[in-house]
Symmetry: C2
Subunit: 293 residues, 2 copies
């Protein structure tokens, strides 16, 4: 497999996710922290105007702007669509990128701890996920792949990439413990790539647990489209825990429990993510699988 010569650490793809933004600022101030012997590292604050206004986005979610068709469409030019084209020029173009690896730093209001988000099954990404979760056993691996649908995340510019999600944390704040954990995971990621380039990582084989995306679930709604229920208190905060048929999912505002009614258990993630209310996502359901890399 080809060596990695150029790597980008991206923060602030969403302007109100401060953990990645202030990490990028820290790395820009102290570049030695991310310098390694055998590849070049660049940092990028992806949505600077979103950060200035402390909002996820100005016009549209930047992390849904990276389909080839949209990148090549010269008529859609709102703020994030324009930024996507600029970033695609800088790091890409998608499919034939100047950069060999992207690391995109996100945060979530869901209790997802340290999560690695995979958007494809590239063996390098799987090996790196296996390594990171062996060094940091708290790390979870979420494979967010919709078969047959082109991924629209910034990371999809490169085949080789990882997303990091950290939570629970409110939008618009820095929390020292999660900041430090994310920074450590970035450091281990860079070390992994340095060793990979040195040919030292052929031995990484083993089983990892992957949470594979199945589908999203919306909040119960009224006829007017208003939210009619909250995440049930027994489910709140239980990301990556098994949800079995008959267990509580939602609690309506008038006190009725809505139960999970399908036939097989699932493992929900992104439970109660603030930015997903408008997307009609109360949580994502996954299945837990052990795979060999």
């Amino acid at each position: 497999m080809e060596k990695i010569n150029k790597l980008a650490i991206v923060g602030g793809t969403h302007g109100n996710e401060f953990t990645g933004i202030y990490l990028v600022k820290k790395f820009e101030k102290f570049p030695d922290l991310i310098s390694r012997t055998n590849f070049e590292t660049k940092t990028l604050l992806a949505n600077p105007l979103g950060f200035e206004l402390v909002t996820r986005y100005i016009d549209t979610d930047l992390n849904r702007c990276f389909k080839v068709e949209d990148l090549e469409n010269s008529t859609n030019l709102n703020y994030e669509e324009s930024r996507a084209k600029f970033i695609n020029q800088m790091l890409g173009p998608k499919g034939n990128p100047k950069f060999d690896f992207l690391l995109d730093l996100h945060s979530t209001t869901a209790n997802m701890g340290l999560t690695i988000v995979l958007v494809n099954n590239h063996p390098f990404n799987l090996k790196m996920a296996a390594y990171l979760s062996s060094v940091e056993p708290d790390v979870k691996v979420y494979s967010w792949i919709n078969p047959g649908v082109e991924n629209s995340f910034l990371n999809s510019i490169c085949e080789r990439n990882l997303g990091i999600e950290v939570g629970p944390i409110a939008q618009g704040i820095i929390q020292a413990d999660l900041f430090q954990k994310t920074e450590k995971l970035v450091q281990i990621s860079l070390d992994f790539i340095e060793h990979f380039n040195e040919g030292k990582l052929h031995h990484i084989n083993g089983d990892i647990v992957v949470y594979k995306h199945l589908k999203v679930v919306d909040y119960p709604k009224t006829e007017d489209g208003e939210i009619a229920a909250m995440i049930h208190p027994e489910l709140q905060g239980r990301d990556y825990q098994k949800l079995s048929p008959g267990e509580p999912m939602f609690l309506t505002f008038d006190g009725k429990t809505i139960y999970y009614q399908e036939k097989t258990p699932v493992w929900p993630v992104f439970i109660n993510e603030a930015a997903y209310y408008e997307k009609g996502i109360a949580m994502c359901l996954t299945k837990q699988e052990s795979i060999t890399v």
Copy 2:
């Protein structure tokens, strides 16, 4: 003391504080919940456009728009300034209001549990705070009074009022446990007022612990005005806990601890509130006092 004939429950003074907003929506759908025998209760969603766009405010913080001078100024008419004048017409005017009591529902990313915010020392408000904290011992009372400065909060329209802050919770989400706790506190508040109107509450006397506002503290900043440090992990989440001279306050991005260096202990609140980054407030310092009501 005059009876309370008209009371308003206000939610969404900040458009991204969902706890109060969805409580107001619930009360509008089930008005029996807030109906009492001897006073009239009205609900108000204070910043509907802010809620629609899931943002604290559109142009300016609505909860800083209620100084008499600003309410009477007919030239400042941005969205929140206009809303403030409308709300002042509906519930006020400030100083001679049509409503006798305001209950304004807020939430915070700080770990403030259930907090009652006092903006004046009206004996009714103090008695009510004493009652609520006797029924719900977890309730804290924060007296946010800057002597000699007119209060600019929505609540300041009426002399008799309470603010409720609940946290920690991210902006833009509903969390069932905190929703239920806030709802219960609203119910107890209404019960208190019903009993007061019946003349049954003359016996409420006693000591309560009040956290009196001293001053705000900003984040350490660089020469460019950028944040240079985070809330120290040993202080994060410790709202209402004593901070003694020599204890950690901040952790700079390059790993240096900044200690609290004044001579007397303080009790910080609003530690790491997302909306206060732009206000230059990392936390508010208070002193703990026991007062007799």
